[in-house]
């Protein structure tokens, strides 16, 4: 019954349309939680002009599927949607959408948090930021590793 949608794409997405697609065909979901990651115009002290997201085609999709499938095992979900963009992005652009649907909001909130936390350290994406100083590859944040690790304890 669960609707699972996973897409890795260069194009932007429409959050409203995607959420509507997630809830097609069922009236059992009472709660939809979604996370949208956006490009910020600052990183530390630098103003970001643009960003390039590189990924590992094939492995990315496989890892996203694994992550979603773990979420579906841990929580009673009616639907789960992950869209992650790659390529050239500018400040305010959407990078990623995670949406989870369940009968009740607890499961939807927890599963959404799990998927984005886990995705950040398991889906093979690499960000290159461009500022006035030039281009540089972004380093992994300690807080992201910690956030993912938290879910391993349970």
């Amino acid at each position: 019954m669960t609707a699972t949608i996973i897409r890795v794409q260069e194009e932007d997405f429409d959050v409203g349309e995607e959420l509507a697609r997630l809830s097609e065909g069922t009236a059992r979901m009472g709660a939809v939680v979604c996370f949208v990651g956006l490009v910020r115009d600052v990183a530390g002290v630098d103003a970001i002009e643009s960003m390039t997201l590189e990924h590992y085609p094939g492995m990315t999709e496989a890892k996203l599927r694994q992550t979603v499938s773990q979420a579906e095992k841990r929580w009673p979900l009616e639907g789960c949607l992950v869209i992650h963009r790659y390529g050239h992005l500018e400040p305010r652009d959407r990078i990623v959408l995670v949406a989870t649907a369940s009968c009740h909001r607890d499961a939807a909130f927890e599963a959404c948090r799990f998927v984005i936390d886990w995705l950040k350290t398991s889906a093979p994406f690499w960000k290159k930021e461009k500022s006035a100083d030039g281009e540089y590859w972004v380093e992994q944040e300690h807080s992201d590793r910690e956030a993912a690790r938290r879910w391993e304890k349970d």
Binding site: H55, Y56, M59, K63, K120, F125, W137, Q140, D144
Partner: protein, 83 residues
């Protein structure tokens, strides 16, 4: 064996993908990285600090002591930064 490079490993090595046949004594990922350093100054620079490099074999994350097979797809990259 197909070897893929991503992010700054790709830019330092100057190539995204190589089809290689390492010698028989190259048994695991760490040995492959050591062997790759001899291919060019770019390879040597990219693989100088292995603590900054992660690997996947056949699209699964592995540690550097993962044993390799001849037809493996091996990928090398820095820690990931998606989302």
């Amino acid at each position: 064996m197909k070897v893929l490079y991503f992010a700054w490993l790709r830019t330092k090595i100057g190539c995204a993908q190589e089809e290689l046949s390492p010698p028989a004594n190259v048994g695991d990922v760490a040995a492959l990285m050591e062997w790759l350093k001899g291919r060019s100054p770019g390879h040597a620079e990219a693989l100088a600090d292995l603590s900054a490099v992660r690997a996947a074999v056949n699209q699964e994350f592995v540690s550097l002591d993962h044993v390799l097979a001849a037809d493996d797809e091996v990928a090398m990259f820095p820690p990931i930064t998606g989302g």
